[in-house]
Symmetry: C3
Subunit: 403 residues, 3 copies
C-alpha cells in the first residue's frame, strides 16, 4: 500500500512538472488586471483558512479523535489541491484558466472533499483519507465538467451555482453518504460519538472561522463590482440561519445544542451559494432562515431516526449541514434568479445527485477493501504518545510533591 502511494506521489510530481505550462498564459502587464488577480488570491487565502482551520476544527467535536481529524484535514487538503492542478494541466480546455482561478477551483474541490470526509470521519485509517482524496477528485471534476462546463452535452443551459450549493456542498455530502453506506460496521454504529465542553469549543472555533470567511468562498470568482453585494448577501444569509438555528434548536430540543449552533448556523452560507450574486438582501436573509430551520430540523429530528433506521453513521451530519441546504439552495434559485433556465437547473441538480451517489458507492467499495480501523473515533490507535490521558495522571501524580 505504501509503495502504491509512493508511486502516486511520483506520478504527481511528474505531472506537476508538466504543469509548468500553467504559468505560460500569465504575466499580465495591465496593472488593473494584476490587482484584480491579487484580490482573488486574497480570497483564495480566506478559503484556505476555511479548509484547514474551519473544517479542521469543526470536526474536532469528536473529543477523542481531535488530532486525527486535524491530521486528516491536512492530508485531504494536501492531496486534493495538487491533484486538481494535475487534472487541469491534463485536460486543459482551449481557454485555460489563470493560475489563480485554478487555485480557487482546486480549493473548491478540497472543500467538497472535506465535506465528504465528514460523513465517515473517525472510521477510516489515516491512509484511507488519502485514498478517498485520490478517488474523490476525479469524480468531483467529472461532475463539475458535466454540470458547469457542458460535458457530454447533458445540460444545454447555464446552471446557476456561483457559490457551489449544488456542485460543492450537495455533491460532497452525497458522495460521503454513499461512501458511508458502503463502510459502516456494526461496531461503528454501536460506538457512541462523544463530545465534551472542550471539543465543543474547538468545534465552535471552526464554525466561526467558516462563518467569517464564507463570503470570500462565495465571491471568490465573482467580478470585482459584484463582490460587495455578494459578500453582504452571504453575511445576511448566515445571520438568518444563525438566528433560526437558535430558535429551532430550543424549540425542538428544549435546550440549546452546541452541535446545532456549530453546524446549522452555517446552513445559510450553504444555501445562498447558488444565488449569492443574484439575490437581494431580503431574499438572502430569508433563504438563510429557511436553511437554518431545515438544517436544525435535520440534526435534531431526522439524524437520530435515520441512523437507527439505516444502521449507517454520518459522523458529522453532512446530510443536514451540506446535503439538504445545498439542494435547497439549488432549488431556491428557481425563484430568486430571474431568467433562469429551469430545465438546466433541475437537470444539473439531478446529474449531481446521481453522479455523487454512484461514484461514492463505488469509491466506498474500493476503500472497504483496504480494511478498517479496529477502534473507531479514537486517536490512540494511530497516534504516538497515546499514553496521553494516562500520561496526565502520571505526570500530575509524579509532581504532587512539587505542587
Amino acid at each position: 500500500m505504501k509503495n502504491c502511494l509512493r508511486l502516486m506521489l511520483l506520478i504527481g510530481m511528474l505531472l506537476l512538472a508538466l504543469c509548468s505550462g500553467v504559468y505560460a498564459g500569465e504575466a499580465p502587464v495591465a496593472s488593473l488586471e494584476a490587482l484584480t488577480d491579487v484580490q482573488k488570491y486574497n480570497r483564495a487565502i480566506h478559503i484556505m483558512a476555511m479548509l484547514l482551520v474551519g473544517f479542521g476544527f469543526l470536526m474536532v467535536f469528536v473529543r477523542k479523535y481531535g488530532r486525527s481529524a486535524l491530521t486528516a484535514t491536512y492530508l485531504l487538503v494536501s492531496v486534493s489541491i495538487p491533484l486538481y492542478f494535475v487534472k487541469e494541466s491534463l485536460f486543459a480546455p482551449a481557454a485555460p484558466a489563470t493560475i489563480i482561478d485554478t487555485l480557487i477551483l482546486a480549493e473548491f474541490a478540497a472543500a467538497s472533499l472535506l465535506i465528504c470526509a465528514g460523513a465517515v470521519l473517525g472510521r477510516m485509517k489515516m491512509q484511507q483519507y488519502l485514498f478517498l482524496g485520490i478517488l474523490f477528485v476525479p469524480c468531483y471534476a467529472l461532475n463539475e465538467w458535466l454540470v458547469l462546463n457542458g460535458g457530454l452535452g447533458l445540460i444545454s443551459g447555464k446552471v446557476v451555482d456561483t457559490g457551489g450549493s449544488i456542485v460543492i456542498h450537495a455533491f460532497g455530502a452525497i458522495f460521503g453518504l454513499a461512501v458511508a453506506a458502503s463502510m459502516t460496521t456494526r461496531q461503528e454504529y454501536e460506538t457512541a460519538i462523544e463530545s465534551d465542553e472542550n471539543s465543543d469549543k474547538y468545534s465552535l472555533l471552526g464554525s466561526m472561522v467558516l462563518w467569517v470567511f464564507w463570503p470570500s468562498f462565495c465571491a471568490a470568482l465573482v467580478a470585482p463590482a459584484d463582490v460587495p453585494k455578494t459578500g453582504v448577501n452571504v453575511i445576511l444569509a448566515l445571520c438568518g440561519s444563525t438566528l433560526a438555528t437558535y430558535f429551532a434548536s430550543v424549540k425542538l430540543r428544549g435546550k440549546i445544542s452546541a452541535a446545532d449552533i456549530a453546524n446549522a448556523t452555517l446552513a445559510g452560507g450553504v444555501a445562498i451559494g447558488s444565488t449569492c450574486d443574484l439575490a437581494v438582501p431580503g431574499s438572502a436573509f430569508m433563504i438563510g432562515i429557511l436553511a437554518g430551520v431545515v438544517s436544525t430540523f435535520g440534526f435534531a429530528v431526522i439524524q437520530g431516526k435515520l441512523t437507527d433506521w439505516s444502521k449507517k453513521v454520518d459522523t458529522c451530519g453532512v446530510l443536514y449541514l451540506h446535503g439538504l441546504p445545498g439542494l435547497l439552495g439549488g432549488v431556491v434559485a428557481l425563484f430568486v434568479a430571474s431568467g433562469i433556465n429551469v430545465g438546466a437547473q433541475l437537470t444539473g441538480i439531478m446529474v449531481t445527485v446521481v453522479t455523487a451517489a454512484v461514484t461514492g458507492l463505488v469509491s466506498g467499495k474500493v476503500l472497504a477493501v483496504m480494511g478498517r480501523r479496529v477502534a473507531p473515533y479514537v486517536d490512540a490507535e494511530e497516534f504516538d504518545g497515546e499514553e496521553g490521558e494516562e500520561d496526565v495522571v502520571m505526570a500530575i501524580a509524579a509532581e504532587e510533591p512539587i505542587a
Copy 2:
C-alpha cells in the same frame, strides 16, 4: 416572548425586503472604484473575524460559560447587522452609503454591542442577549447620528473619531455598565467568576485575533492612500499597550495576570481609534503605552474596589478595556490632531456619555422585566448534553445548593 421575537424577525424580513433598494445606487463601472470597494470588503471580513472569533473567544475566559459566550456572540452579531441594514434603509440620507460602507457601519454597531454585552456576560438568558441587541442598535444609531452626522444640530463641527474610540468603544462600554447597573443581583455579585488554564488560553486566542485585525477595523473606511499609515499607527499603539501592560501587570500585582495580558494589551487599539489616521508613529506608540497603563491599572486596582463599592458586576471589565481607553482616545485627539474643533470634540464625548448612560439604564430596566437566570455563569442551565464531562457532573453536583 417567543412570539414577540418571531414578530420581530418577521418585521426584519419585511424590512429587509425593502432594503433591496440599497443595491440600486451601485454597480460601479470604473474599475479603480470597484477594486477600492473590494479592498473595503476585505477589511470588512477582517472585522468579522474580530467580531466572532475575537470578541467571542475573549469572553470564553469564564470557564463554565464558554459555549454560552460563543453562542451569544453568534446571536448578537446576527441580530445587529440585519437590524442596522433595516435602519439604513428606513432612514437613508440624501446621499446613501454604498452597500460596503453600510456593511462596515453595521459591523461597527455589532462591535459596540459585543462590548456592551461583555458587561453583563453570564447573567442574562440567551434570549435576553437578542433583546439587548434589538434595544441597543437604535440607541447606537441615535448616538452615531447625533455625534457624527450632526443630528439635532447638537454638534456643529467635526468630531475626530475615525476608528471609533468614542462612538464605538466608550458608547458600548457605558451602555453596558448602565445595563449592568439595572440588573446585577446579590447572587450574581456573590458568585465568583472562575477561569482556568484552558479558558485563559481561549481568551488569549480571542485577544490575539482582535490584535491582528484591529488595524483593519480602524482603517476600514479610510481612503486607500491613508490605509498603510493608519495600519502602522494602530500596530505601534498596540505594541505600546502590550509592553506597558506587561510592566504594569507585574508592577501592580507582583505576578503576571493572564487576564491583563488578554485584555489591556488591546487598550492601545481602543485609544488610537480617534486619531489612527492623524497620529505619527511616535505619538501612536505613546498613546498605546498610556492606554496600556490606564487599562491595566483599571483591571488590577480599580475593578476590585469599584465592584465592592457599587455591588455591581462588570463581567469582562469593559470599563477598563473599552470605557476608559476610549474616552482617553477621544481626549488625546485634542493634542494630536492639528486644527481640531475642540468644542465639537468635547461635546461629542459628552453627548456619547449621556446618551449611552440614559439609553443603557432604560434598556436595563426593560431587560430586567424579562426575568433572570437562576445560576449565573454556567452553560449547564441552557445547554443540552451536559453529561459530556464527568468533570461537569462533579462540578454541578458540588453546586447543587445553588442550582
Copy 3:
C-alpha cells in the same frame, strides 16, 4: 533591570518620535499605487496573524507553559516591530522604503525573533524575552544589511531569498541555537517537556494558521503580477511537505506524531522561501516533499541524539523546522533559479550562518548574566491565579476509577 528597560522604552519613544519623517515620502496620488500598497498592507495583516496566532499557539505544545508562551509571543512582537522602525529611521538609506514596506520588513524581523525564541522557550524569565528581542533586532538587521543590501561589500551579487529561507528562517534558528548553547542548565536538560491532547490541538491550530497565511509571507513584497504564481508555489510546497511528513512520521516512528504533523508540515514553506517567485509548480511541490522528509527526519531521529550528545535543549526543535529546511531552501535555489550568482548565494548563506552563530553566542552570554528561572517550562512561576493546576489534579483524581 526594570529601570534599564524603562530607559530603553523611553529611548524607543524618542526615536519613534523621530520616525515621523517616515511618512514624509508618502501620500501617493496615483491610485493604482495606493491600491498596490493596500494589498501589501493586507499581506502584512496576514503575516501578523502568523506572528501572534501562528507562532504563539504553535509554542503552546508545552502544556504547562501555554500562557507564558503566548505572553512571550506578544512581548517579542511588540518589542521588535517598534525597534525595527527605529532602526529604519536611524539608518535610512538614500531611497527609504515606504512605510508599508518597512512594516513588512519589521514583521520579517519579528518572525525571525520568534523562531529564535523557540529554541530557548520555557527557560527564560519573561523579561529576558524582551532583552532577547532588544539584542536580536540589531543583529538581524546587521545580517540583512550584509546579505541583502551589500553591506561592507562582502557580497557582490544578488542573493536569491525572496521569502527569507536564509535571512529569516536559518538566521533565527541558528541565533536561537547559539543562545541555547550558552544557556541550557542541567536541570533544564533533565526536565521533560510535556505535552498532552489539548496542548497538541492548540499547537495544530498555530500550525494551520501558519500554513494558511504562509503564501502571504513569501509574497509580501512581490510585485502584483507575481503574487498569484508565488502563492501557488508556496501552497504546493506546503502540500508536498504535509504529505511527506505524514509518510516519514509513520515510517520513522511506527505511529503518527502530532508534533511532527504540527511542525514538519510547514517545512515546505520554509524551504520554498528563497525561490517562491522563481519556481514552477512541479519544482515547488518537490522542494516541499524534500523539506518535509528532512524536517521529519530531524524531529524523529536527530533531535533525540543531538540533545543527548550536546546536553543542550532546543525546546521547539527550531533546527529541524527552520534551520535545516532554511539552509536547504537557500541551496536548492542554485538548481531552481536560472542565472543565479552561485558565489553570492553561497557567500550569503555562509555569512548568515556565521553572523547568527557569533551574535547568538554573545547574546546568550549577556542573557545568562540576567539569571535564570528556577522551574523551567511552567507558567506557575510567573503567573497569577495558579489555582488552575490544583483544579486539574482534583479532576483527574476523581476520574482515576474511570481511567
